[in-house]
Subunit: 447 residues, 2 copies
Amino acid sequence: MSYKKDVFHLRSLLLALDEKEYESLIEDLHPADILDVIRQFKDDRVDILNRLPAWMIAYILDEADDKEKYELLSVLPRPRKKEIIGEMSSDELTDMVGSITPEEAKEIFTNMDSEDADELKELLTYNPETAGGIMAKEFLSVTENMTVEETLEYLRKEAPGAETTYYIYVLDENQRLKGVLSLRNLVISDLKARVSDIMHERVISVPVTMDQEEVGHLFEKYGFLTMPVVDDKDKMLGIITFDDVMNILREETTEDIYRLGGVQEGEKITGTVTESVKRRLPWLFINLLTAILASSTVSLFEGTIARVVTLATFMPIVAGMGGNTGTQTLTIIVRGLALGELTFENAKKVLLKEIGVGVSTGISIGVTVALLGFFWAGKPVFGLVIGLSMLLNMTAATLAGFLVPLILKKLHVDPALASAVFVTTVTDVLGFFFFLGLATVFISYLT
Amino acid sequence: MSYKKDVFHLRSLLLALDEKEYESLIEDLHPADILDVIRQFKDDRVDILNRLPAWMIAYILDEADDKEKYELLSVLPRPRKKEIIGEMSSDELTDMVGSITPEEAKEIFTNMDSEDADELKELLTYNPETAGGIMAKEFLSVTENMTVEETLEYLRKEAPGAETTYYIYVLDENQRLKGVLSLRNLVISDLKARVSDIMHERVISVPVTMDQEEVGHLFEKYGFLTMPVVDDKDKMLGIITFDDVMNILREETTEDIYRLGGVQEGEKITGTVTESVKRRLPWLFINLLTAILASSTVSLFEGTIARVVTLATFMPIVAGMGGNTGTQTLTIIVRGLALGELTFENAKKVLLKEIGVGVSTGISIGVTVALLGFFWAGKPVFGLVIGLSMLLNMTAATLAGFLVPLILKKLHVDPALASAVFVTTVTDVLGFFFFLGLATVFISYLT
């Protein structure tokens, strides 16, 4: 099935179907598909939204980006707004309210009943990039002494409002987490059995302050559908579902890839020239400063270059190989930190490995370039100078590629920001210094 | 809870608890946690595995890497092996058998009953990186005219063997997909209702040949727990579950990040020096060839540099800014292709935007560097030459950053492989050519 064709077809169905067919269509549609239509046909969005039931719009807002949620909501008349807000889940409401102005937020609160408003206020107190900031309040809970039958009855009543029904949490009178039941277990158990007999007691939970990326790794490790969020007294505060986590992991990885490539997070591939220039230019100016640093190093040796111009010819090899070696190590280290595979515990072992790699590849490339330099310049000492400086620079490059992200991590700065700037500055400056410095020392053998 | 402390504690529990406590511990443990212990304490792994029930070992193998699965299985005695293979799910068996030698695979087949062996043979015929290669055969299916009560009964019997029980698929007599039931719906429906009344008819399915990365994007878009896999006649062949997809997305992203950084996929951060050198050296030699190309460009202009040595000083700025501009565009394009946001349809718009960005940032940086060159060299024409070549090179850099990955995509090569090599070769060679070429033309104004 062609997805593109589908959008056009779906648009006409959403606008033109008669009442009865429309209702059965809506029952069977996925909100993400309707959102595609709304995004692609901006002129039709009011007509499409006006026809949709409030519960479906709430689902669509679940799928939308944070800012888009409010944008879509604000085109609707006030009574509808209120109804939709009532249907939205607390985590999505939090994301939306976190992305709008205080005045806009105030309007949202006036459209909520006081219980929902209190929940929202609580969720807004957490750092948006922690477990508390991404959790929802709509979870199902029972007590230990209930029976399977009572639990199923409770489920029939409460299921429509819950984020997920696949796990039901068992809490004590102080809301402390005692166990978890899966819907699967419930369905295959005897109706008279007690919750305490069939529940799973070793519940893996997430502290409310945990960083969202770390939460993502726990989901990847355990393959859970949902995870409960608890405070430091093990009181259950909310749940996180895997679909939200998938989005977070995608965003975090895009951010890492962008930062490694010197692009600011949030740049859209289909944005305008002005937006992109605004985001990229600051980075280019930072890079310009570091390039000027490298140029200054070269300028120290202009006298040497004037006497042996072939040195200028070999400068791109020095800079290029140092940069590549540094980037290789940097990539491994940044990704290792992001995936939690590199820790401060195994850091020393990894450092020794990287230095070993720098020396080994430095010798291989150094000997090759030394031979090349010898034949190109016709002087053995020229080969020695370029070969030795390759070895020194490539070893320094692995060191820089290792140390820069770890130092940033210690300073609580995203290691991916290490990227091009710091590491290639080190390799450029040191590379030119080794190469042109050695050449200056041995200048009498080179002319 | 400290995860590190947990591993040590868990190891002693697994080895030392008495029979009864051990059994209740195992019921409550997550296989991923046991795998952590087995990985960390290699000397204890036979003892730990020997004590574990076969079903738990099968779950642990589910969590293990492809090659690790067979490694763990092979330390066990033959009768246990057979029992564990019988408990493993078909998708994990496929991954394992796909990663071992034909002789080892033959031994696995001798330990299987003929029905499971046929399933496995079928799964092995699919490309491992497509929907067919990652799906499992263990799904639950019912027919339209069954009642909710009959379905629940079927569920009680079949649930233990299924990959997931949260969705039950409705098939016709030719195994064609007609609808889907969620366990949630089933639980809240009347026991006498027919499946056809409560099923969801518009099932979103995945063609068996779809690339696994595209499957990943569908899961991200729809937030599904599982998706059915169908052939071109809509016959249901298997299911894919979200936890497998999360792993695939992580692997695909790591691969992209590694390739952008010039690192071969599969390099382990804690591997040996020899392994890393073997993987990185070929890439460094490819880069050396392209650096030699840049050096050759410079060597054409040795005569000019000999007369104006300050040109050598500015070379790092030309190369650096071109490389950074190209990398920014490359990053946006490669990630856009990976996330499906850049298509051949919107490519023209994005190309025009990138050229616009190249020209705009080129003018900003060009004017700055022109002024710098003017003051540094004390000659206005020097400023003009370096400024103009920055503008030309940065525009060319955005073009290269855009075109190289798209051309690779057209040639069915992973666009992330575009990385440093091709783009920075273009920016180095063109940058030096523009800069030193213009300097040669205007040489009389520079000396």
